[in-house]
Symmetry: C2
């Protein structure tokens, strides 16, 4: 009997729709007869907000929650538009989904493809995954301000870290590390300054490490990790870190691997209580939207993460290999967003039918 997956599709703003179209093209190209994907389109994002004043209503939430997974393009309008100031869309939509659906694992793999130019002179072999915590840290929205706009203003931001929240993501990271060939885990924090949160993370990693004698563990401060990432990125295997540090170092990871245009991510609720969400790490890039010049690869690779999450590692591999083949054959002639999608879809389809 065929498995049916209900997929909520949030194409979003800017280049979001274009790259999602290609990601879906590739998804359908690899679907076998026994896997059916039913899509529901949700038109959410800055455009809808500016039109209706709604970002994500309770009804929207309930409808999205009915699905097995979410594919998201990118959200956010023109950053200079004062009506969109303060990350209102990012927080009201993206972060709201991550928090409401308890996406406590934000999975961000980084590979340096030999065929893609890296800004690093000699990146070497790079293949690591950042397991970024997704529901705590300074992202909880627990801050405030008094005497705003006066010389006596005080603004605070509170990072909240719980044993519950840290342990579950650390466990996920160890499980992942123990399934990878190198079985290495690096905790990234700033424990010499953020001593309370740092101690919780360090104690948790030490405790879970006891259950994983096969995994080697080290620790790096978040400042120092940026040095190693540009000097010797090949040393990393699995990195586990908090929400903010993960945000920062995964952009850096995307950059060294030849561009944020290739960086995919999964916002995972490993318990399966809520739909997990897959999205490129890049933003909506309104300046190049609608021109068919955006690279859909990160969105396509997000589909690979989705397939992997659905237990179809075989299909995920077909997509990833098709992307690798496409990257290797990229010439200097620019292709449209759709042309890149067509090429990857064809290559991925060939891999699944011959398999």
């Amino acid at each position: 009997m065929a498995q049916t997956i209900k997929l909520a599709v949030i194409r979003g703003d800017g280049i979001g729709p274009e790259v999602v179209d290609e990601a879906l093209k590739v998804l359908h190209a690899v679907l076998p007869a026994d896997l059916v994907v039913e899509e529901t389109a949700f038109s959410l994002g800055a455009a809808r907000y500016l039109e209706t004043g709604d970002i994500l209503t309770d009804d929207d939430m309930a409808a999205v929650a009915e699905h097995d997974a979410i594919l998201l393009g990118a959200v956010g309008g023109d950053p200079r538009d004062p009506r969109l100031a303060g990350g209102i869309i990012e927080r009201g939509l993206l972060l709201k989904l991550r928090f409401a659906f308890d996406h406590y694992v934000n999975l961000r793999p980084t590979t340096v493809y030999s065929s893609v130019a890296s800004p690093l002179a000699d990146p070497g072999e790079v293949d690591f995954v950042v397991v970024r915590e997704g529901t705590e840290g300074p992202y909880v929205g627990n801050g405030g301000a008094i005497r705003v706009g006066t010389p006596h203003e005080i603004a605070t931001e509170v990072s909240i870290n719980t044993a519950h929240g840290v342990e579950r993501v650390v466990r996920y990271a160890f499980d992942l590390a123990s399934r990878r060939p190198r079985k290495h885990l690096t905790l990234v924090h700033k424990s010499n300054v953020l001593v309370n949160a740092g101690a919780l993370w360090q104690r948790t990693v030490a405790a879970v490490a006891e259950e994983h004698p096969d995994v080697t563990v080290d620790y790096q401060h978040v400042d120092a990790v940026t040095i190693h990432m540009v000097r010797e990125p090949g040393r990393f295997d699995v990195i586990v870190t908090d929400n903010l540090f993960g945000d920062i170092i995964t952009d850096l990871a995307g950059a060294i691997s030849g561009g944020i245009g290739l960086a995919a991510s999964g916002n995972i609720n490993p318990d399966g209580t809520f739909p997990s969400m897959f999205e490129p790490v890049h933003g909506s890039a309104p300046d190049i939207a609608g021109q068919q010049v955006a690279d859909p690869t990160a969105a396509v690779l997000s589909v690979a993460l989705l397939l992997d999450h659905l237990g179809r590692a075989d299909l995920a591999a077909a997509v990833t290999q098709a992307v690798e083949a496409d990257l290797a054959s990229r010439g200097t002639t620019p292709r449209s967003t759709a042309e890149v999608g067509d090429a990857i879809a064809a290559a991925a389809a060939a891999r699944t039918t011959t398999a």
Copy 2:
């Protein structure tokens, strides 16, 4: 009449003493007859703490405060020593000095020297300064934890940002930008998530910008700035940012410019109420301590920042140029820490006597 500068010297731990010796060698090599430096050595750091249990006593503080400036090597012992866990030396010594002496400007220049190999394939011309706030943000030590060690532990870290604290460092950054040829300032924050602190920083920059129509201003999120720093570091001129973001991006800046072995910093109290402190960005590197293999260049360049701070831009330039000449002539034969210091001292002395 000669100007006399009372310099507190904290050689510290690990490679600290070795690199400070060379920095002082260079300092003395460029001193003209009208500038006298009186040094007081303070033996502070992990070694002293492990011996006496004292990190920085009130008497130490009072004695250091009597000086016009501080030169610090590096502090911190073996990171695996449990007696030194939780950054006890870093916080009790380094951060305590920065906070007590109101070092609200943490100045960290980055230059890519054409003669130094950068991990970037094509860094281009890079010459920017990060103005990192030094007395606020998540560094204030305002966090806590309850139910520690239980499954219900909650650990918090509070970032505190005040109009007073933000405005003074933003003013400093604008003043600096308006004195530089490119007159460009970039605010780095994460205003789409840390909305309270972010709004204070953005409003402050917008307000001070009004007084500096000559300075162009832009804003970047801290995650995105890491991308630009590896892809196009030449675009930056002056970056102003908070304590934690500044910590992270200046390590990255050090790495792309060919190594943290060249990165100097000044912890400045612009009001002159307290002594400013100059230190290499690198740590104490206990693994290579005492072997005369450490590169003293970052410490030497910290002396250049010290001289500049004392109003002796001429002497600072002599040191910087001597470093540049030394970098350009570095062969493949390794030199000892002292040999590097000797070479730079000689070159710097030649520059001051012929001037």
